[in-house]
Symmetry: C2
Subunit: 241 residues, 2 copies
């Protein structure tokens, strides 16, 4: 995928009503031109210092710092950053692997929820154009996923960094359980679980950036909804840090 | 499901070679008799104090403390605990909802990986008994899942607290990507993603404790393997806390 490619036109012919399209962040970023040639980057003093400590490319570290609202940890060669969107992840989501040129850094989309909404609108346009004019049109959900590390547990799991038309949080609080008692829990991170499920369907070396989830139409909404921003846990509600 | 029920006999007729059986922790705990009648619990001083602060049942708090190696946070009515197994979760995984009696606490299995291995062996026995004697037998994976809160992100996501016959971590480090370059990342928390995928297939009020994942046989192993214990991140490797 290259800057300017029409992802919706590639995906639309495969879709059915109620499908959820999970797109890897990297391919969205590339299509949106969120790439930086490292040759164009002049590292500052902090990037030089961190790069020296971590044996990294100072230009790449500068890109990571530019994408970060704050650096939460800088240890053992890993920068755990809070991005300008409020995501907490390694290297502020900046990636080099699988880039067409080894000297190019791929950044997270500027506004992944907006990216998901645009993709959803483009899919609606692309698919309605193939339907009779009186059709009401199919409804799809869109998730933009990325692989994040987690506190307490090893291994990366995919999460939703952008979403449109998906019930990102399913709130069971106040609903009765099977015995008629109120459930004490439970707000379920549906969009993150959909992203995780989609990741199982592809190999990391496969260049399969798009996975379609079928059979989860009950999580698809007619409205775009609040997006994955609703999954960010405010600091004051975070007892798990 | 009641203490002593034969879960394997219930599941086995549905299975095919390569299936992964995801079982909700609560049903395993009940079958193993990991339940405590609150009437039998005498709360100590710390439980009384926390219960008073949090407007909780002191007997339940005592059960949570008994299940905890340490209490990581005690704020706003929530106890975030490290369990004796090394899991970090709310209330040390102790649950009341959906219990057959409101005055019964359901604890995590004593050794969830051992529970998964026992279930796997029981499934092999149950299914081989229905095959011709010269059959080599099918191979299944078993995951015991629970819903955990996360740092940084809202909503619960299911994770694997026990596993047998599943590649819990898929290590891509050192393998080449599609362009022949070494992937910098990536250790994928496969078992947690399988648990999350399974959770999408059931409703919290549905009493559907078992989900079968078909089509993921490439994550099933002939050996029981290290289990979900391999997913616990050692403190010294945890930059995300």
């Amino acid at each position: 995928v290259r800057p300017g490619d029409d992802l919706a036109a590639l995906i639309a012919p495969e879709l059915r009503d109620g499908d959820i399209v999970v797109i890897a962040q990297k391919v969205v970023s590339k299509a949106e031109g969120r790439v930086v040639a490292l040759d164009s980057v002049v590292p500052g003093a902090e990037a030089m210092r961190l790069a020296d400590d971590f044996h990294k490319d100072a230009r790449l570290v500068q890109v990571v710092l530019d994408e970060s609202a704050s650096v939460i940890r800088a240890e053992r060669g890993v920068l755990i950053c809070e991005t300008r969107h409020g995501f907490v992840c390694a290297n502020a989501g900046v990636d080099l692997s699988n880039a067409p040129d080894a000297d190019v850094a791929v950044l997270l989309p500027l506004d992944p929820d907006a990216s998901a909404r645009r993709m959803r609108a483009a899919l609606a346009t692309a698919t309605r154009s193939t339907l009779p004019p009186d059709s009401s049109g199919d409804v799809y959900g869109v998730i933009i996923s990325d692989s994040f590390g987690r506190a307490w547990r090893l291994g990366l799991a995919d999460v939703a960094i952008g979403a449109a038309g998906v019930r990102v949080l399913d709130d069971w609080r106040g609903r009765p359980d099977a015995h008629g008692r109120e459930l004490r829990v439970t707000e379920v991170a549906v969009a993150d679980q959909l992203a995780a499920a989609a990741d199982l369907a592809r190999a990391k070396d496969s260049q399969q950036p798009i996975v379609v989830i079928r059979g989860a139409a009950h999580y698809v909404t007619s409205e775009d909804g609040p997006g994955a921003a609703a999954l960010r846990r405010p600091l004051e509600l975070d007892l798990f840090r």
